[in-house]
Amino acid sequence: MSDPIQLRSDETFTLNVGPQHPATHGVLRVKMEMDGEYIFSAETVLGYIHRMHEKMGENRTYAQYLPNLGRLDYLSAMAYNHGYVLAVEKAASIEVPERAEYIRVLTVELNRISSHLVWFGAFIMDLGGFTPLMYAFDDREAILDILEAVTGSRLTYCYHRFGGVYNDVDDDFIEGTKAFIPRMRKALKTYEDLVTKNIILMKRLKGIGPVSAEMCRKYGATGPVARASGINFDVRKNEPYSLYNEFDFDVPVYNECDSYARYMVRMEEMEQSLRIIEQALAKMPEGPIMPKKKPKIIKPPAGDYYQAVEAARGSFGIRIVSDGGKNAYRLKLRSPTYSNMHLFDEACRGMLIADALAFMGSIDLVIPEMDR
């Protein structure tokens, strides 16, 4: 639908989308120069909920910083927990018992599904369909209940610990997760019938918001945004961490580069996460959840450590520069949406505002994670 029309720079007006706008899902502002309904140029303005998490990382000990990770990407907090503990374990050479690693993978994948469910609902709501949000939240509620019972929190998890996890999972967790898998498969079928095959949805998403593979590379886009542009990149596969090379799962890749491809990638990722959960449940060994011997105070040797994990929105990287002290000397958080959203300014030129906002929704924004 986005015909190449000639936009004129002398007949534009400025439209402030945000900081308070229903489509930005948080406090994000996009300053758009509009020529009628077409976007002439756009500039994303962020930092409205910047909290300087990186400075906090320097002021706190490694253990004290753990809760901060849940406050970055509040929808897939578990992956952030995982990335951080992996980085510190790498720096301080802490061994992790196998069972703990299985529990981590289980919780991360459950959390990934819940994050994608929120995205699914919110994205369809961006397109004007309200009902899928309620369906998605209903299913997400089941995940939150399962995770709440074992982690103690519903959203901003702080569950992973250096060397293991905070709490062993009980039979309720195992049974609950086992019961959840068929339920979620059924729900995915419903979503497919209700939403995926909807003609209006297809018309609105197909061919909209093209992001070329080269553009992804120049901006460092990762996660579903990159995978929808034909890039077979998933940190879990490309750079297997934790136990991910022991599981059999596929990385959905689409070559269409449009919003519909991004939509499809995420929908299929949920199924793949279910597969991982199934295998993890079957393989999970008995044993301790914390190593027998672990330093009381974490003091990694001086050096520079990097760890990347696949969060729900893409590759989350954490760089710890240690000077041998109790606190990190420098702690850098590389958040995926920050890079993914960056290409919006360039990609949305010449788009209709409705398409641009659908495109923005397909990037899957979590503002606290961008602003850190």
Binding site: M1, G128, G129, T131, Y135, I200, R204, A354
Partner: protein, 328 residues
């Protein structure tokens, strides 16, 4: 003379009452319907099944401050909500609910209703222009182009019906279809084999004309915040809201009268007002159903649908019907 005046006054009061009651309780129905489609109970707090929700909402809206933002065009800003509600109520005057229940039957009823319906887009234009808000302005531009685009196929479809019946009197049109569902215009295949398509076109146009999802581009909340009524608070917003539901009722009434046999029973038995009400509420339920199922289209998708599909089809149907009428 004075008796006629009293009659008219009574009729107008009844029309306003019906419109307002319907608007209020349709909001409740919509919320209940949304709840039903979304696997949740909907409003439950006020009264049994939340039945007292509409009056409570009304009191809330009426007691809130009517904020008039700085820099707005006051005259347009104030007139717009009234203009949204007033044509809807006026249209009720000429709608026959059964053979005898009609406030003021006119022999040009169809024309009058469409004249008033066109005023609805003026409300959107005034509100958008007067609000001094870019979102509202964009929304009003959308709203007007949408109204123009969809009035054309709608009117062409209506002309087809008028040609079949030979009257612009809504009562006459409904009476013409009495006797059972095979007599209804939607199934009048002998007059034009494309009548069911005509009905679909008319229904889609009704959705678009009343700014209902999936054509609610005027108030596309994820793009334009709240569209033309972004700046309205209190009863200003309330009137727009009620106007929307009143328009839905009128759209359903018209669809029923023009295509579904008005107050006639599907099997030719006991015609009466209850059949009419049953039909319009079934249509309204369909409106609600569609709204809570489909995502929104884009403005260009919407205009393309009208100019490239609906108008050619309805024109073709018009010509076909005219030809068939001439031949037989």
């Amino acid at each position: 003379m004075s008796l006629t005046l009293i009659n008219v006054l009574f009729a107008v009061v009844a029309a306003i009452g019906f419109a307002a009651l319907n608007a209020a309780y349709l909001v409740w129905c919509e919320r209940k319907g949304a709840g039903f489609f979304q696997r949740r109970p909907g409003p439950m707090e006020n009264g049994p099944w939340g039945l007292l929700q509409p009056p409570v909402d009304g009191i809330k809206l009426m007691t809130k401050q009517l904020v008039i933002p700085g820099g707005v065009d006051k005259a347009l800003f104030m007139v717009a909500p009234v203009l949204a509600m007033f044509p809807a109520i006026m249209s009720f005057v000429t709608i026959p609910f059964s053979e005898n229940i009609v406030a003021q039957n006119m022999n040009i009823g169809v024309l009058m209703i469409f004249a008033f319906a066109s005023m609805g887009s003026m409300a959107i234009l005034f509100a958008g222009w007067g609000s001094r808000n870019k979102y509202a302005l964009m929304s009003s531009v959308r709203g007007v182009s949408q109204a123009i685009a969809y009035e054309v196929p709608m009117l062409i479809t209506v002309i087809t019906i008028v040609m079949i019946t030979g009257s612009m009197d809504l009562r006459a049109i409904a009476l013409d279809q009495s006797g059972g569902f095979w007599q209804w215009n939607i199934l009048a295949l002998t007059k034009s084999p494309l009548m069911p398509v005509s009905f679909l076109i008319f229904f889609v146009c009704t959705l678009a004309e009343t700014n209902r999802a999936p054509f609610d581009l005027g108030e596309a909340e994820s793009e334009l915040v709240a569209g033309f009524h972004t700046e309205y608070s209190s009863m200003g917003f309330g009137l727009f809201f009620m106007g929307e539901y009143a328009n839905i009722v009128i759209g359903s009434c018209l669809t029923t009268l023009l295509f579904l046999g008005g107050w006639g029973c599907p099997f030719g038995l006991f015609p009466g007002v209850w059949w009419f009400l049953l039909k319009i509420y079934l249509l309204i339920f369909t409106f609600i159903w569609i709204r809570w199922t489909f995502p929104r289209t884009t403005i260009y998708g919407l205009l393309n649908l009208s100019w490239k599909i609906l108008i050619p089809f309805s024109l073709f149907n018009l010509l076909l019907t005219a030809g068939l009428l001439k031949v037989f």
